[in-house]
């Protein structure tokens, strides 16, 4: 059978097409300041709790902020209950510190494209949170709750930088 010959122009077009896809991928990867699994490392201080989606018209009149009592009720069965500061360690451990200086250790992993945070306590079923925003200073987690919030709750965190520690000590 006669061997098919491809025109050099066609070959070049294919190489250019695939090559530009590769260049685009490299460019996008290079543009990223850090991968989510490194950006998340460190200590995060809980700043606020809000409703992302309001449960109803009544709640809309009260504003989006979730009260402390409601927050306690929502998190009652969750591993993050009463956690004030979250410390992500590179070995996959997560330390949840509360205001009474109690620490709860657990395991963290990121799923999908780095947008799902899985927290594994070992005793109960793992919990999953949607990592909506993650940058140098801010982390926003969403999670669905079927308790009082009856919708999506939004947790905002502020990163505790090492400078802050130094300033505190001074």
């Amino acid at each position: 059978m006669k061997k098919k010959k491809y025109k050099p122009g066609i070959r070049a077009t294919y190489f250019m097409g695939f090559g530009s896809c590769l260049v685009l991928f490299i460019l996008m990867s290079a543009l990223a300041p850090a991968t989510p699994d490194t950006a998340i490392l460190g200590k995060w201080q809980e700043v606020s709790w809000e409703y992302e989606k309001l449960p109803g018209v009544q709640a809309a009149s009260l504003g989006k902020a979730i009260s402390h009592t409601a927050k306690n009720e929502i998190t009652r069965d969750l591993v993050i209950h009463e956690a004030e500061t979250w410390e992500f360690l590179p070995d996959g451990r997560l330390l949840l510190h509360n205001d009474k200086n109690r620490t709860k250790p657990m395991h963290w992993t990121l799923k999908s494209r780095g947008n799902i945070l899985k927290l594994d306590h070992g005793e109960v079923a793992p919990e999953h949170y949607n990592l909506q925003v993650l940058n140098d200073d801010e982390m926003i987690l969403y999670f669905n709750t079927d308790l009082q919030a009856k919708g999506i709750a939004k947790m905002k965190f502020k990163k505790i930088h090492h400078n802050n520690y130094a300033q505190k000590i001074q």
Binding site: F25, M28, S29, L31, A32, K111, S112, G114
Partner: protein, 253 residues
């Protein structure tokens, strides 16, 4: 299932191929959603996510999703490249080769997941990428050899077709059209098998974990070996017939 090409295929062959591949695609997709929180058989959502991540300036996530889409495309590309280049030499081999590659991909994901997976983000991204490539290969094969009438990994177009056909069947003239009825049978078989595969994987995953991918590979293996078996039997029958023809005159003497 695998020997015939394009318009020479019968409805029965399309149903057989479509059902089995859709079953394995459903299994793979549901397992990847459970384990990795990422879809591996439908790419429409990934395009939306890519646009969203680019607009937000999340370049790392955008690069990952871009690579996933490209790998699905790559799977389709490779599959059809093998078919169009080797179809005339050996149709069965040209059609079985993409399925062998798919089975290898699924087996490697299953084995890695079962024995080595440490749940890091990089591992997750790579395993999802391999599965998208495998699904691309499968979709490319079924679409290519069935003249674009069987697509088994994503159900957007298929649901559209089912919707159109269902509305057409409200009129008698279309209800009695054999070609349309055959198409409807193929589509319903794919939908049912995709869904059953997903449900089956969801239940089975709780007990056997990543070994679900072995079952998906076995389903692919069934398609390959069934055709091989049929070819062998046909050859044996032909040989026997030839032998009988040759023997007959000797006996008459």
């Amino acid at each position: 299932m695998l020997r015939k090409f394009s318009n020479s295929r019968t409805t029965k062959e399309n149903i057989q191929l479509g059902s089995l591949t859709a079953f394995s695609a459903g299994m793979v997709n549901v397992t990847s959603v459970i384990v990795f929180f990422a879809f591996t058989s439908n790419v429409t959502g990934h395009y939306a996510i890519l646009a969203e991540e680019v607009s937000k300036g999340n370049w790392y996530q955008a690069a990952v999703v871009f690579a996933w889409i490209f790998l699905f495309f790559g799977g389709n590309f490779c599959s059809n490249l093998i078919i169009i280049n080797f179809n005339q030499k050996n149709t069965y081999l040209a059609h079985a080769a993409p399925l062998v590659i798919e089975a290898i991909c699924l087996l490697s994901v299953g084995t890695y997941g079962q024995f080595f997976y440490r749940e890091t983000l990089n591992e997750t991204e790579v395993l999802v990428a391999i599965m998208l490539f495998a699904m691309g290969i499968q979709n490319g094969l079924t679409a290519s050899i069935s003249n674009f009438s069987v697509k088994t990994t994503h159900l957007t177009g298929l649901t559209t077709d089912v919707g159109l056909l269902t509305s057409m069947f409200t009129r008698k003239e279309y209800r009695e059209n054999k070609a349309l009825r055959a198409k409807a049978r193929v589509l319903f078989a794919i939908v049912t098998c995709y869904l059953s595969g997903g449900i089956f994987a969801g239940i089975v995953y709780q007990n056997i974990g990543f070994m679900v991918f072995y079952i998906a590979s076995v389903v692919i293996g069934v398609i390959i070996s069934y055709e091989y078996y049929k070819i062998k039997i046909k050859k044996m029958v032909r040989k026997k017939r030839r032998g009988q023809k040759f023997k007959t005159p000797v006996m008459s003497r």
